[in-house]
Amino acid sequence: MKYDSQKVALYYFAGALVLFVAQILFGLVIGTIVVLPNTLSELLPFNIARMIHTNALIVWLLMGFFGASYYLIPEEAETELYSTRLAIVQFWLFLIGAAAAVVGYLFHIHEGREFLEQPLWIKLAIVVVALMFLFNITMTVLKGRKTAITNILLLGLWGIAVFFLFSLYNPANLIMDKIFWWWVVHLWVEGVWELVMASILAFLMIKLTGVDREVVEKWLYVIIGLALFSGILGTGHHYYWIGTPGYWQWIGSVFSTLEVAPFFAMVVFTFMMVWKGGRAHPNKAALLWSLGCSVFAFFGAGVWGFLHTLAPVNYITHGTQITAAHGHLAFYGAYVMINIAIMTYAMPNILKREPYNQLLNMWGFWITSSGVTFMTFALTFAGVVQSHLQRVLGMGFMEVQEQLSLFYWMRLGAGLATFIGVVLIVWSLVVPGKAKQVGRVAAQPAE
């Protein structure tokens, strides 16, 4: 860490980790309600717990992106942040807004579109927070060095803000509602978020492998080119059955098949860089998360996405547990892991510690990843069975759900493992390692 203002990222990483734990806890709650339906049914209905689970995820990922930007932009732009104070004010506003939303949800104060349940005033507050953030980082980049990484990161972050504006538009016609709801949801996670992810990954590759910036930035352009050339029209795979014309089935099938390509390129990219770089960076855990990120994103977003993206397949699987399986692995691989990777890299630097608790952190990696992987398999099997019974044989929904309870128990178990892994990760990031341990890790020679 070269610039004092990078420290402000710590607020965001801390806030993100708190919400991460909350997200997993509420995931356990709804996982439990699925298998033991009478749990909390009066006090905390499924729909409320579910919106906290998903909203906490989105908010903590965004918070991690903000933190990552505050950490890497000064270093890339080679200048202090435009305003540290603004960044701190922005953090508290965002955290208080998120907390207010969650407390409000518990008292049934919410709106009713999936993932966008925040009351209007919170949505407006998010817009204000986003503008503060964008102003701050844009000013920083403008006064400093401009690199491909800052360039693409900024484009991604501005895109996040612009497409969020569509959350304010809620027409009475459900089809129109859905068409533009996807402009937030899809164009975020399969569009501009990928730009943020790819630029953070590129930054980590430069730092961790020692490969030339030139090489990394070229890869970065290839990856994001593939991502947006396929991802924008890939939105078509959400327009199959919502009242839109039939031609979307062709567009969605063709373009979203290509959405695998950028994720594949990311895998090749990270492994090539590590292989070519040949430098043994002392922060092995950060490298593990970076490599894991590209691999899990490829499987979660790429492979599991392709699994049900072709219109004839989606006709049968749409809205079943297959979607849930894909959602869990894709979010974990692409966005959870990139956040943990940058935190694992940056937090020791900010806290002026040697890379510490690496072993614990890597245990966290393996346990969490195994948990999410097992969960994905359980849900995939559940989805296949559900698709067959409900969509081919025409059995009733509740009847089919009873057949799936074994899978749901397995999912809950996997969720517990995930939770343990998450605790390990958070512990390893927050609690300083023992002095002896630090010494031993630091003493390891670079190979």
Binding site: N38, G225, L228, I232, L233, G243, T244, L393, F397
Partner: protein, 149 residues
């Protein structure tokens, strides 16, 4: 020097290509929106349908149910619930059936998923049913494959 030029050009091609795909996307969405507007002529969003959608949102129904396959997968699909209740043949019975079902929740049956009790007025219930009826008449390219949803 030329190195920098190549990368600057790469950036411009990325922007240009992205703009191209986005324009094509916007054009197609604009066309789709016009077909939705055409459809509204035969299946208009009446004030009660619009009010019903607000009831649907007020109680965050989508965080358990799905509608046209989108939602939380915890409770049945409601995009075609009107058809499932045989509303096309006997509208009055379907309306009563749906309203009574909602009013009778939670069932309290042990081991069965519970739908919470919502404070919904008679008027709101009618609006909600109108909303379901409207949704069931949307051309969803024959989705879902079975009436079970």
């Amino acid at each position: 020097m030329s190195e920098i030029l190549t990368k600057a050009a790469a950036r411009n091609i990325f922007y240009g290509g992205t703009a191209f795909f986005f324009i094509v996307f916007v054009g197609l969405v604009a066309h789709s929106v016009s077909t939705v507007n055409d459809m509204e002529k035969s299946n208009p969003v009446t004030p009660s349908v619009a009010a019903g959608k607000l009831v649907w949102e007020k109680h965050a129904c989508i965080d358990c149910h799905t509608i046209m396959g989108e939602g939380a997968y915890f409770a049945p699909e409601l995009g075609n619930v009107w058809v499932r209740y045989n509303g096309r043949e006997d509208a009055a019975a379907a309306r009563d059936g749906l309203k009574n079902w909602i009013k009778s929740q939670p069932s309290g049956v042990e081991g069965r998923r519970q739908m919470p009790h919502f404070e919904i007025s008679e008027q709101e219930l009618d609006d909600l049913v109108d909303f379901f009826k409207w949704t069931s008449e949307v051309n969803t390219q024959n989705w879902p494959p079975k009436v079970s949803g």
